[in-house]
Amino acid sequence: MDTVDHTEFAELLAVYSLDALPPDEVSVLESHLADCPRCRAELESLRDVAALLGNSGVSAPEGTWDRIASELGVAPADQPVPVLAFQSRRRPPVWRNAAIAVAAAVLVVLGLLSYRMVNLDNRVGQLQASLGERGVGQLVNQAIENPASRNVELTAKTSSARAHVVVLPDGTAYWVDDDFAALPAGHTYQLWALASGKVVSLGVLGPDPHDVPFRVEPAMTLLMVTAEPAGGTPVPTTPVVAQGAVSV
């Protein structure tokens, strides 16, 4: 990046950090930012300053949260819902005289669950991507060194396969590592928990997992891992590779 660019863009970065750059100048700066880590770093610094200016101590109006919460509950049709909630609906009602209707309902439910599972994994994957490999690794190290954390070992009944999970008191957990064989392309390890008698998905781990964050809820008593098609499945479709008791 040459000197002219930085001198020229330096003033624009400060203006941009205050959202005060006219729209016709924004695209020019943003295209430069896409290629210039130095300017991006400076912009982040300037945005920190701007955020402190805007950090006032008023209270939000009463009822605002209620209105937000009501929007969460009336999600659009393609909106995934919490894992625990949708897993509780995975067994459709069975009517003796409506076998065709049941079959159709099962297909619809499984299709919806598959879609939601992919969406769930996309959401978690996005955050993991934004955290970056180094960021998750640091968090895992901090969790391991945290005296309040607990180690959970997942073991196999018929082999020596083992996996190491660390769980913090607030339910934050990390798949640290394992000695599982890496899966071929198109497959992934998927983590499950037993919660109140139901098997719920905690997300996919990837074909060769390490440093994967997930969350343990108080109702969960057992962690299990299976090998599944890439993207994960709504319910386990293969035998459990390893399992271990957990609690928060």
């Binding site: 000197t3 930085h6 001198t7 330096a10 003033e11 400060a14 203006v15 205050l18 959202d19 005060a20 750059l21 006219p22 130095r38 770093a41 400076e42 610094s45 300037l46 945005r47 920190d48 300053v49 701007a50 955020a51 402190l52 200016l53 805007g54 950090n55 006032s56 101590g57 008023v58 209270s59 939000a60 109006p61 605002t64 949260w65 937000i68 919460a69 969460l72 995934p80 919490p82 894992v83 959401r123 994957g125 996005q126 955050l127 991507a129 934004s130 955290l131 970056g132 960021g135 913090l168 008191p169 607030d170 339910g171 934050t172 997300g203 997930f214 969350r215 809820e217 108080p218 928060v248």
Partner: protein
């Protein structure tokens, strides 16, 4: 639920939100809604519209948690940045209102920032007050009009009757001065590039 979200980190909360945990979003709201609403109201000058923006920003976090990058800063900074940007967009989309506010701003261009009464965190309040204190009067007016008034730098130049290049320079130098002051108190984590650009 017995989970102790009250002490959870931003990363933990963001991870929980990515798994559709409404309690985690409620905790993020509890911690940040006040400042987020305060900034929207200050920029928009209308509590009802500000509340709409607050709802929009939190719902966007719910639907797109991956937009938050924990390595770049706190959730508070992220949400304030989001709400400011959205508030300014709304302000600029309302042409008649905009013209009225530009007119009003001409007569009240300075002395708008009552920092002593608006900050929740005393350490932050003192840090920001000190940082504002190091600004030259022209820098302060330009930054206040741009940030809290939601004006472009060209509009700020028109309001203050100064050349556009002067306003850009003042915003730049003022932000640098504040960043140095805040950094000295450990309040701004970012690092600015060396002052006079490249050798």
């Amino acid at each position: 639920m017995n989970r102790d979200l009250a002490n959870a980190s931003d990363v933990t909360l963001a991870m929980a939100i990515s798994r559709w945990d409404q309690e985690a979003l409620a905790e993020v709201y509890r911690r940040n809604a006040g400042p987020v609403f305060g900034l929207a109201r200050r920029v928009l000058g209308d509590a009802a519209v500000a509340e709409e923006v607050v709802q929009e920003v939190f719902l966007r976090l719910w639907h797109e948690p991956g937009r938050y990058d924990p390595e770049r800063g706190s959730l508070r900074t992220f949400l304030l940045s989001q709400v400011h940007s959205r508030s300014v967009d709304m302000l600029r989309s309302d042409t008649a209102r905009r013209q009225r506010e530009v007119r009003d701003a001409r007569s009240t261009a300075s002395g708008q920032y009552d920092v002593e009464h608006e900050f929740l965190d005393i350490a932050v309040a003192e840090g920001v007050r000190d940082a504002m204190g190091v600004l030259q009067p022209g820098e302060r007016s330009a930054i206040e009009l741009a940030y809290f008034g939601g004006h472009t730098y060209r509009e700020v130049a028109s309001i203050l009757g100064e050349p556009e290049g002067t306003i850009k320079s003042r915003i730049r130098s003022g932000m640098r001065r504040m960043q140095s002051s805040l950094a000295a108190k450990g309040l701004a984590v970012g690092k600015m590039q060396p002052a006079e650009e490249n050798p």
